[in-house]
Symmetry: C2
Subunit: 251 residues, 2 copies
């Protein structure tokens, strides 16, 4: 793992439909890409069912462990949408109607808003709103938890509306393609890993037309750290090297 100044994030995906394979998971996939570019170290992704205790336990653990948490799903008006109540219970606060959110929900649905629609204004007490301009209304932000809807397009637009508030440190990354099996390069790799403690070095084997290939990657928040490790790997693995993707800022 990199020891670096990047903030850490946890993602909690809520929904029976994802675990049961009825709906393809897209929100974690989206956030993984975004966090990389934002320079935030995603430290855990958990997919849980629509179950009160699971949601509460996992969100609370993530909130206490990582700098920021994003949840997706379980915030609609139906019986299986229990994210708000689960988070409120986990932190022992009541569920309340947020006055501004309620006003926006009433504006959106008109004065004949039903009880089911008004559930969309419920939040754990202490929630603030982020992303005033993101349609159809801002995103609930309780402690360090950002509570997103599960519909991928809506989730993505809301995430992008507030992602600038998350902080983040740019990341520098490069990679080397190696024509060898992983076990042939272990010793060389270990030497570079030991001597570059601030760089995250990964090795990812695959088989191509009957031969082993390995992609070796470097990641660091310091450009010089990343470049030094990259050069050391070029030297240590020179006899198997087929191509390189030099260090550059991740974007």
């Amino acid at each position: 793992m990199t020891k670096d100044p990047q903030p850490t994030a946890g993602v909690v995906v809520i929904g029976d439909e994802v675990l049961s394979g009825k709906v393809e998971e897209k929100n974690a996939v989206f956030m993984i890409r975004r966090f990389r570019v934002l320079g935030i170290r995603l430290a855990r992704v958990v997919i849980v069912p629509d179950a009160m205790e699971d949601i509460g336990e996992v969100v609370r653990h993530a909130s206490e462990t990582y700098d920021l948490v994003c949840t997706t799903g379980g915030v609609g008006p139906t019986h299986d949408d229990i994210t708000i109540e689960a988070i409120a219970r986990a932190f022992e606060v009541p569920v309340v109607s947020h006055p501004k959110l309620e006003a926006l929900v009433r504006e959106y649905f008109g004065e004949e808003a039903t009880a089911a629609q008004l559930r969309l204004a419920l939040v754990p007490e202490g929630t603030v709103l982020d992303g005033e301009d993101s349609p159809p209304w801002p995103t609930a932000h309780f402690r360090n938890i950002h509570i997103f809807p599960g519909i991928p397009r809506l989730m993505a637009s809301k995430f992008d509306a507030i992602a600038h508030t998350f902080g983040g440190a740019p990341m520098y990354a490069g990679s080397l393609e190696i024509a060898a099996a992983e076990w042939e390069i272990c010793d060389a790799l270990d030497g570079v890993v030991q001597s570059h403690p601030h760089v995250s070095i990964g090795s990812y084997p695959r088989r191509e037309q009957g031969s082993w290939r390995v992609r070796v990657t470097v990641d660091a928040t310091g450009r010089e750290d990343a470049e030094a490790a990259f050069s050391a790997l070029e030297r240590a693995l020179s006899s198997h090297l087929t191509s390189t993707d030099p260090v550059a800022v991740v974007s």
Copy 2:
């Protein structure tokens, strides 16, 4: 949640490369589909980095909570492959070389097998081997944990070689397409949910050309339970119904 006789499963995906977005996650996606057809209720998916404590904590929790656990990744010969050691530490057993696995590893690499290659025969003490015929060697099975490699093609073939040992109860599922917003069908839906406690009923909204649509799904291990809930939903939602996918065994 369905209260039913399906075994429960937890999946732990291990690897910085997935969380950092360098490699697309494919193993959980694969297992989600397989568990659905096998009739096993996948209850949690967790993606963790290559970090000793994270792996140990999450795998141990899953092992104690679900009937079976599948891990993928972190079992190669390099510095970031620490799954075996993490699991052994979490259960306070030593890491040992499995005699049969070691023989197979030596057979595969030849008598000049290196120390790095022989790491592939290391397991937590108490491990048995499943899937004698799955190449290149069987899969480590420690307590209720199946330890798979992270390379997707290899993972998939090893999973399929032993999946028949997992148990599972066939699942019956159907769905209804509704031309309405979720809040318009809440009350009707809630009524059916209350009166069919053994059926899992889901509702999944989406927006299509400016209009809301909802897919309502039923899932149960009993065909009659699923069919009764499906019929009740057809009646309760008849004014918005656009099409149906009748109850059938999931395959």
